[in-house]
Structure formats: C-alpha cells, structure tokens
Amino acid sequence: MNTIPALEVSGLEKHYPRFGLGPLDLTVPPGSIYGLIGPNGAGKTTLIDLIFGMGSPDAGTIKVCGYDHERDEVAVKQRAAYVGPDLNFVAWGKVGRAIRFNRGFRPTWDDGYCARLMQDFGISADDRIGTLSFGGRTKLALLLALAWRPPLLVLDEPTTGIDAHSKKAVFAEMLNIVRDEARTVFISSHQISDLERFADRVGVLHKGRLVAEGTTAELVDRHVQAEWVAENADAFAHIPGLTVQERDGANWRAVLDTLTCPVHSLESRGARDVRTQPLTLEDLFLALTQ
C-alpha cells in the first residue's frame, strides 16, 4: 500500500507586503479528499500557486507524491493536475483544440473517459471557449484535469459559478477518483457544506495560518460553543484553544477546542453558569475565522 503522502508541506512561508502565508505544515494522505477552507485572502490560492511553481516560497518545502516541487518540477506536474478559476483557454479557440493540446502532454490521457466527461458536463469539442459561460469554462478546466487520471487533483474553488447539477457531477467524479483508484483530491473551497459532505480531512486556513485541521468528524466533535458568566476578563485572555466570539459585560460566548482547552478549565478560571452546545463545520469555520 502506498504510504507516501500525496502532498506534504513543511515550514512553508511566503511573504508579500500586505500578506504572509505560513509557517505552514500540512500533510495530505494518499487516497483521500482534503478540503482547505478559509475566508478571502486567507492564502488558499497562494498555497496552490506555490505547489505548481507560480511563485517561489521564502522558506519551507512542498512535496507531491515524494517529489520536491522545485527540484522535480516536471515530475510533480506529471502527477498533479490543477483546476482554478483563472485558468484561461480562450486563446485555443475551440474546446477540441484545448483538449488536443493538453492531451499531447499526458501519456495517460483517456479518450473514452474524456468523451464521457464531455457528455456529463454538456461540453462539445466544437464549442468556442470564448462563448462559454464562466461555469462552462470551469467545466472545461475540470475535464482537462480529470481526463488523464492524475494521482493528485488540486482544485482551487472548482464549484464557483457552476450549477447544482454540474456540482453534483463534479463531486461524484471526485468520489469515483478516490474510491475506485486510490487517487487524492486537494480542494480549496468556500462551499463548506460541500466539503462537510465529501472531504475526509479538512484544514481551516486563516490569515496564512492553519488554525484547525483534522477529519470533519474530529473537528466537529472536539469543538464546542460555550457560554458563561465571568467578571474577570484577564483570566480568559490568550488561552490556547479558546476563541472568544462575543463579550457583553460579564457574559461570554466562545468556541472551545476541548483538546487544548477543556470545559472544566473555564470553571477553574472563575467561569459560572457554563453552557455548551455542538457546532456545525460552518459554525466552526465562522468562529475560527472571524
């Protein structure tokens, strides 16, 4: 059984004048769907760009199926496919020409599978790419990425602009890829509900840092929303695992990571009337990234 991580990010840092990514450590096991969620400007696209050599990191390493993304850039791209909203194939004119161009680089290209995907997505080889809607172009990018059955599929906001039917088809394909062929999908998305249903593991990226990571069930189970009463504000400042959402006088509301900040630790700091309730992944995301 293959145990080499499909994607391994270690100590990755990239700094811009108004934004910094990392230090970031992240491991995506083979044969899984990994969902990366984060608000606008969290660094999701920056991370994906770095994987494909669109920019170079200030520190750290990225390995795809054991290959270093800088030293073995060709080997990495022979194993990883990329889909993003800014992919532009308009210069190729027609869908068929874009497919033929990409097929030349992919020895494992599957024409039958490509034809089936075209039917599923409602795209024809004769379609002018420039006349396709935004969703149509996203489907074309997905088709070009899926049709050669890559070991790692990296999707940056793949469902932006596509309708519910196509979204269903995309996720069905992703599940097929993972279930039948032990391939890996790394997906960044705003659609938390989609990831909640499909992703095996989820990472929450906020301001360039991974603030939570684990399986969807783990994350939901170990985080709770707590409300309590306490007058001493200093006692609840800078506690690891405690994210204060709201404070109104002596009334507090916060999200607790029960692994690092158990509920009884609040009481030991003087909290009274502590009440907890479970969170959905979306609630957790909103709390951690507010």
Partner: protein
C-alpha cells in the same frame, strides 16, 4: 458627462502627458499629432475591461454617456494638443537651426538662397547674388517663398487630419469583437476589423509626415484626406450612441449544446507542443505577412516608391503582436503542464521570435533595408537576432507588469530596435550584438518571472484586442 471625461483624463493621465509632450517636441519635425488616435486606443482598452458597463448605473442618460465617449475618443486629444502645439512651434526657432535660418531668409527678402554655417557648398552650385563667404548652402536656389514649409500651415493641416483620423478609429471601434466569432461571417467581420484596427493606429505615423507643408504642395490625395476628415468626425459622432449601447450589455454566452458523438472525435492531428507552434507561431507569421502585404500595397499606392521606414511598422507590429499573443495564452494553464521552467520560457519565446524573424525577412528581402556593404543574408541574420532579442526582452518585461501601463513599456521596447535597424544601417552588426545581449537578459528574466513573479499569473486581456475572459470573484 464632465465627470466621465475627467475620470478618463485622470486614469490615463500618463498617456495624455506623453501625447502632449510628443506633440510639443515633435512640432520641430512637423509631426505634431502622431499620437492622436491614442485616446481611442485607451478607450477601446477601457471598453474591453468593462468600463462602459460599470458606468451604466450612474445617473447619466445613455446619450450623455455616448457623448462623453465620443468627446474622449475624438476631439479631446487633438484639442488638448493645440496649446502644446502652439508652444512647440513658438519654441521651435530657438531649438532648430534650419528654422532660424528660415526666418532670417524671410527677413532678407531679396535673397534667393538660404545660408547656414553647416555644409560645404556643392561644386556645381550656380552663381547667386550672395557673396562667397564662409556661409554654406542649405536650400535650393530660387526656391519660391510660398513653397517654403510653414510650421503653422503644417500644424493646422495635421490637426485637421488627426481629428478626422481619431474619428475614423472611433467609428471603427463599433465593430470591435465582444466575443469570439461563431461562424464564417463573424470570422470575416472580425478579421476585417482586426486588419483595419491593426493598421489604423500606427498608420497615422505614415500618413501625417506625408501631408502638405505648404499650400502649393497639396496633391489630389491630400484633398481626399482633408475632405474625409469631417466625414469621419460626423460618422463617429453618429456611431457613439450605438457603441455605448453595444458595450453596456454583457454579451450573452453561448449555451452549450449536448455533446454529439461526432464532436467527441478528438483523436488524430497535432497535439501538445507541435499544435502550440502551429497555432500560435503560425498565427503570428500569418499576421505579419498580412500586415506586410497591406503596408506594401498602401505605401506603393499612396507614396509611390520605397520609403526608408518600409520595414519599421512591420517590425513594430510583429514584436508587439508577438508579446501580446504570448501573454494571451494563459500562463496558469501553461505553468501547470509538465514542462521545466526553461522549456516553458523557450516555448513562450517562440511566438515573438516567429514574428521577429518574419519581419526581418520582409525588411531585408522585400525592402532591402540594412547595411548595403553586407549581403542580404548577413543583414537578415543580424536583424533577426536583434529583433528576436528585443522581442524576448519586451515579452518578459510586459509579463512582469499586469497593469495596462505595460502597453506603453512594450511600445518603447519595440521602438528602440525597430528604429535603430531601419536608420542606423551602418551599425547593423553592433545592433545585432546588443539585441543578443537583450535577448539573453530577456530570457533570463522570463525564467525568473515564471518562477517568482505573481504578475505573470494574473488574468490579462490581450491589450484590448479580445473580449477577455470573465474571472471569478474570490
């Protein structure tokens, strides 16, 4: 309406400043308004970027918006250029020796010859009434006063034609494609537009210098051009409403038909890199050939003979289109392919190189430009090396800039080798050597940019020549 014009002036202030400076400075050479269609070009870029749509919700009538676009595109730049032009002409005698001598010649009315301490008198020069002093010959003897070039006359004529030219370009803009062609007639329409648009912008450089400088030198075709100017201004003002209406609405995307079994037949034919070369390098070569043919015919018809700048426009256009086509391919899609960075840089460079080599062939073989002491093949090789080098540098620098200011940088970068090659023919080989250095620097920059620059991977709109691609808001 006023706010739209002021907003345009503010956003494109650098273009207007350059245009006015060029107007003032080039008055010395009688080319005051060579940048007259620049405002229309900027307007087309704005239209391509969706500015017309963005202003639709503003509390302005559509007529007012149309009027604003027309004022911006047609009379604004020629009118703003008038003070610069007047200033340039007034300052002209202080900077240009020949003009000063022209004035002194007019003061000395009985004199039939203009003198300047510049060049030796030709041996065959006939005797004149002027005593033989250290003064030297500059103008032909017996030149009638009325035939002498008048800067004021030339400026007035050129301003008139420049206004009409801007009107022509604005009128043309209504046929600019808003989405890729779907059938043959749309393909033909867009092809004709591309051809006319492609030659219209730089065409002014060839038209204005050939306009009359004095009343007696007006030829028949000059009258035609002068008469056409107000016609195009009027036509442009009538087309403004249609243009504004067209550009205000998002072009409907084609609904994807259900895929048929016939359309799924994708096997066979070129794939990968060979398809890339045929598709893009072939497109550039075809484009250069088309421009060369049109220019060759146009120059022969209008100017009736070889011009020193025959190859200039083709070189300029080939390098500009080379860079523009290469950047239109979509760097993100290319970067995700299993190609090493140097190989990808080479693939990108192939497009401007194809254009540069084609234009070098046209320049040396068809126009016989180059150092006459060298053979055609040496000139061809030297020009190809120089143009390829500068084209690579131009491509890599414009890819480093994602704002529309890259157009200005691109024009500057392609002007240098094109002008040098056409006029400094005795330095053909050194120019090639400099081009080689520029090419190496450009290639190194390209590799660096592919690895490190985020500007390379931002969405671009092919300098306003295509409708662009909508991008998601993340």
């Amino acid at each position: 309406m006023k706010s739209l014009i002021l907003d345009f002036l503010y956003r494109w202030r650098w273009l207007f400043v350059i245009s006015l400076l060029v107007s003032a400075a080039s008055s010395l050479f009688g080319l005051p308004l060579i940048l007259a269609p620049a405002a229309v070009g900027a307007l087309q870029l704005d239209a391509q970027r969706g500015v017309f749509r963005a202003v639709r919700p503003l509390p302005l009538t559509r007529q007012d918006q149309a009027k604003a676009w027309w004022v911006i595109g047609v009379p604004l730049l020629p009118l703003l250029s008038v003070p610069a032009l007047v200033l340039g002409i007034m300052l002209c005698p202080h900077f240009q020796p020949s003009a000063r001598s022209l004035q002194s010649a007019r003061i000395a009315a009985p004199m039939t010859e203009t003198m300047l301490p510049m060049e030796p008198r030709p041996a065959a020069l006939p005797e004149t009434s002027v005593p033989d002093t250290e003064h030297r010959y500059i103008a032909p003897p017996q030149a009638p006063e009325k035939n002498r070039p008048s800067l004021w006359f030339a400026a007035a004529i050129q301003s008139w034609v420049a206004l009409g030219y801007a009107g022509f370009c604005f009128f043309l803009m209504q046929w600019a494609p808003q989405r890729p062609a779907e059938n043959l007639s749309e393909n033909v329409q867009q092809g004709v537009f591309g051809l006319l648009w492609g030659i219209s912008m730089p065409g002014v450089v060839f038209l204005l210098p050939n306009l009359p400088r004095s009343p007696d030198t007006i030829a028949t075709w000059h009258w035609a051009v002068l008469a056409a100017a107000p016609v195009f201004v009027a036509l442009s003002s009538f087309s403004a409403a249609k243009l504004a209406r067209q550009r205000m609405f998002v072009t409907a995307a084609k609904k994807s038909p259900q895929a048929t079994t016939e359309s799924l037949a994708l096997t066979g034919g070129l794939t990968g890199i060979p398809l890339y070369i045929v598709n893009f390098a072939g497109r550039i070569i075809l484009m250069v050939a088309l421009i060369a043919v049109v220019q060759f015919m146009m120059l022969r018809l209008i100017l009736q003979g070889n011009q020193p700048a025959d190859g200039l426009q083709v070189s300029l256009m080939s390098m500009m289109f080379g860079a523009a086509v290469a950047e239109s391919i979509g760097m993100r899609a290319l970067r995700a392919l299993p190609l090493s960075t140097p190989k990808l840089a080479l693939l990108l460079s192939l497009i401007p190189w194809a254009g540069a080599i084609s234009s070098a062939i046209y320049s040396t073989v068809c126009c016989r430009a180059g150092n006459p002491e060298l053979s055609v093949w040496v000139n061809l090789a030297a020009q190809a090396v120089a143009l390829c080098g500068w084209a690579t540098l131009a491509l890599s620098i414009t890819l480093h800039i994602s704002s529309s200011g890259r157009l200005f940088v691109l024009v500057l970068l392609v002007l240098i080798p094109s002008i040098a090659i056409q006029w400094a023919v005795q330095y053909t080989v050194p120019i090639a050597a400099i081009g080689l250095v520029a090419g190496c620097a450009g290639f190194a920059l390209l590799i660096r940019g592919l690895r490190k620059s985020s500007a390379f991977y931002r969405p671009r709109g092919f300098f306003g020549m295509t409708p662009g691609q909508p991008t998601a808001v993340r």
